[in-house]
Structures are given as C-alpha cells and as structure tokens.
Amino acid sequence: MSSDAKNTAIFTVKAQRLRRRVWLLKLVIHCAALLPLLAIYSLAFADQLGADPVKAVMHFTGIGGFNLLLLTLTVTPLAKTFRAGYLLKVRRLLGLYSFSYGLCHVLSFLAFEVQFDWRLFVAEIIDRPYITIGMTAFTILLALAITSVSALQNKLGKNWQKLHNFVYVAALLIAWHFYWSVKSNIVEPLIYLLMVLVLLSLRKQKISRWLR
C-alpha cells in the first residue's frame, strides 16, 4: 500500500469512528431529553405528580429548557478546549431540544395554567414583567429554531450568525425571568445567572465584536 492510500484508509476509519461517536451522542441526547419529558407529562395527566401537576410541569419544562440551553452554549467552548470538532454536530439538536422544552413551557402555561383563557394569557404576558421577559426569550428561541434548517442557514448567509448571536440575549432574559418568578429564594436563579455569565465571558471577544 502506498503511503497516500494508507493515509486515506486511516482517515476513513477515523471519520467512521467520529460519525459513530456523533450518532451515539445524539442517541444519548434524544433519550436524556425526550424520555423525562414524556414521563413528566404522563404522570401529570394521571394526577401522579403531587398536589399541583400544573406547577410541576411548568417548573420541569422551564428549568429543563434552561439546562438544555446552557448545555448548548457549553458545546463550542468544550469543542475548542478539547479540540473535539465533532461535538459541534450535536449543537443544533441540543438547541432544538431547548426550544422544544420552552415550547412545552409556553403551551402548558396556555393550556393548563390559564386554561385557554386567551384574555388572561395576553394580559399576563403584557402585565407581568417576568412573563414579558420570558415570552421575549421564547420568541428569540422560536426564530432561531425556525432558521436552524440548513436551507435557511445557507440563504441567510452572514445574517444567520448575526441572528443566532441573539441566543446570548435569550440566555440572559431567561435567567432574569427565573429570578423574577420566584417568591424569595433567589439563590438558584443567581447560580443560573452566574453560569450564563461564565458562558458569555468565554465568548468575550466575539460578543464585543458583535456589539461594536
């Protein structure tokens, strides 16, 4: 075998190994994100989730979506630090799961919390600053989810990145939404805010370029 052919063979084996790794990682993400969501909703429908299944579902989807967003934002720094470029291939999936949790959060608020009282739904979004902020963040995530399809990504070109930088704004808004939604225990929201700030500080240069 020539050395070129040998290199190609090694490369193919490596590529295969990475593809399998990405495939496995995606499988883990699907299981870890989807199964708990299904479990929570089936327990809640069956009234097996404590005294107030509505609140339980709201908290689970809210915190779960925030966790997934933070995880999404961790992918790039991780990939850079460990020179593991293949990690970037699961970023979109994580982001879409974060959005899906957010969607469940908003739909559960509409269907189970205000129970399709549309006037109350709209009034709450307008009158309650923490819900206004939450809805703003959700709108950003919605725009990012829609434009995450490859076709739109190519079409938007340079603007795509600009648009998707708004994920940083969304993360800050969600931390704020969390902070404002609790009655007195601000420790947990502050820890989340700190995590967001750390993740943003890792992108200091990029963000300052973007803001300029």
């Binding site: 709450e124 225990n185 420790v187």
Partner: protein, 273 residues
C-alpha cells in the same frame, strides 16, 4: 405519629374537598425548605410534644398551654374552609380546632390590646430553613404574623390542631396553627409558640421581606393583583391531573365577604392590601 381526635363534625358544605394526600404534600413552610414538597420531606422527625404555647402581653391572665392542653382546653370542632394561597392556587380543607377568640378571652385582654402578634417556633436544629438562609428562602426567622384585634376575635378566625380527623402533620403546622380563611394563606402562621396581645401593629414576615408585594392585611382580593401575577382567578386543587379544568374566579375575601367585609368598612383596600 398522627392520632385521631374527637370533635364536632361540620355541617355539609357541598364543597369538594382537596384530598388529604395533597393537603399534606403541598406546603409552604419555608422553615423546612422552599419547594412545595420540602416540608413533607424534611419535617417528619419534628418534635411537637412537649410543646408550649404562651398567651401574653396586654392581658390580665397570661397563661401557657402544654401539648395535651392544646387538644383539651377548648372543645374541638371541624371547619371546612377554603384556603387561598397568594400564589393563586387554593384548596378546601377540613380543619379541626377552636376559635382563636376563645383562647384570647380566657386571657382577659386589657383595653391596650389592639393587635395580636403570633410567632412560630425558632429551633434551627429542627428546622433546616432557619439554620440556613439558602434553605429558608432568605427569611428572617422566627416567622411572625399579626391580626388586628377585631380580626382575631372574629368567629371565623380559627386555631387548627388537626385536619381530616387527625392531629396535624408537621408540614401543615403541627401542633397548632392559625387559619384565617378570608386572607391569603401566608397569614395562617404555623407551629405557633407565642401569641401576644399588643398595642401597635406588629411586624409580619412577608411584609418585612417585600412590603410592596405582601401587605399586613393580605385580604383575598381579586381586584388587587400581586405585582407579578393576577389575583383575579385561582386554580382549585382537588383531584384530576393536568386536564382538570380547575381555574375559578377568586372572590373578594375568599367568598367570606358576608361575614367579614364589615371589618373593613371605611378602609381603602387598595392601600391597605
């Protein structure tokens, strides 16, 4: 740990009761943690016997009740009350206990008794929320509440020592707690050790923590929203899961207006919320 109590049954009120399992697992009792399930999880070794409840202040005959006397000093009756939490959920609970007025009268209050101040047990060894600000939600303990004397003497104002036929579980405020059904739930202070008749409006816990969100009076009022959510409606927790259509309109004074509105005749309830 809970034992049966003898009591006079309430007349049927036609209200759908919240199941006991929900009443004892969904509690705001920050002394045991801030999530709804924390109090049940963290209070099961809480010691309620021996207990001492002192009645003091502007009274001629101050006295102390020990654990057994809490159940024997006054005849126990059942009261089925709606409990409306300031967080916009509500329950219907069959309490056992006696009117607060009976306890106060026995102490012979003087003319200086204008308000009643209540205090929860302070025991950081038993109450992890008091030992750690993180667990206890940043509240300055002991938890304190207060009523105007006419509110305290109102026949609806109740001291509960049990629910659903048995003594209270710790998470619901054992061995003795206040129940003021026309006010938001946080007024109904749990695990009381001190009741003091005083001349001036006493400081109260949630009001000290966030005065613009929680007033001293805290009467249930659909027209005065919490700054961060609407109080116009509530979700009644009974049975049924996610699909339960349990959102109902909140009534002024939690539906007890006929009995208590007169206490606030000339007051601006937007100012004194």
């Amino acid at each position: 740990q809970r034992h049966d109590l003898a009591y006079q049954q309430a007349a049927d009120t036609q209200q759908v009761l919240t199941p006991e399992a929900k009443i004892i697992s969904h509690n705001n009792f920050y002394e045991f943690g801030t999530s709804k399930s924390d109090p049940m999880d963290n209070s099961q070794t809480f010691k309620v016997n021996p207990w001492q409840l002192s009645i003091s202040g502007a009274v001629d005959k101050p006295y102390v009740l020990d654990y057994d006397q809490l159940f024997r000093q006054f005849p126990l009756e059942e009261r089925i009350y709606r409990l409306r939490c300031v967080e916009a959920w509500s329950m219907v609970i069959p309490w056992l206990g006696f009117p607060l007025a009976q306890l106060i009268k026995k102490a012979a209050p003087t003319s200086r008794a204008k308000f009643v101040a209540f205090e929860t047990l302070y025991d950081p060894k038993q109450m992890p929320g008091q030992a750690s600000r993180r667990i206890g939600g940043g509240i300055d303990y002991p938890y304190r509440e207060g009523l105007r004397i006419d509110e305290a003497m109102h026949p609806l104002t109740f001291l509960a020592v049990g629910l659903y036929g048995k003594t209270l579980p710790p998470q619901n405020g054992a061995p003795i707690r206040l129940v003021v059904p026309w006010k938001y739930g946080f007024k109904s202070i749990k695990s009381i050790v001190g009741i003091k008749l005083v001349e001036r409006q006493p400081p109260t816990t949630w009001n000290m923590l966030a005065a613009h969100e929680y007033g001293f009076y805290a009467n249930v009022n659909p027209e005065v929203d919490h700054p961060r959510w609407s109080q116009a409606s509530e979700r009644r927790l009974t049975t049924g899961g996610l699909l339960a259509r349990n959102r109902i309109a909140t009534l002024p004074f939690n539906g007890y207006g006929e009995e208590v509105a007169k206490l606030y005749k000339n007051m601006d309830l937007r100012k004194y919320f």
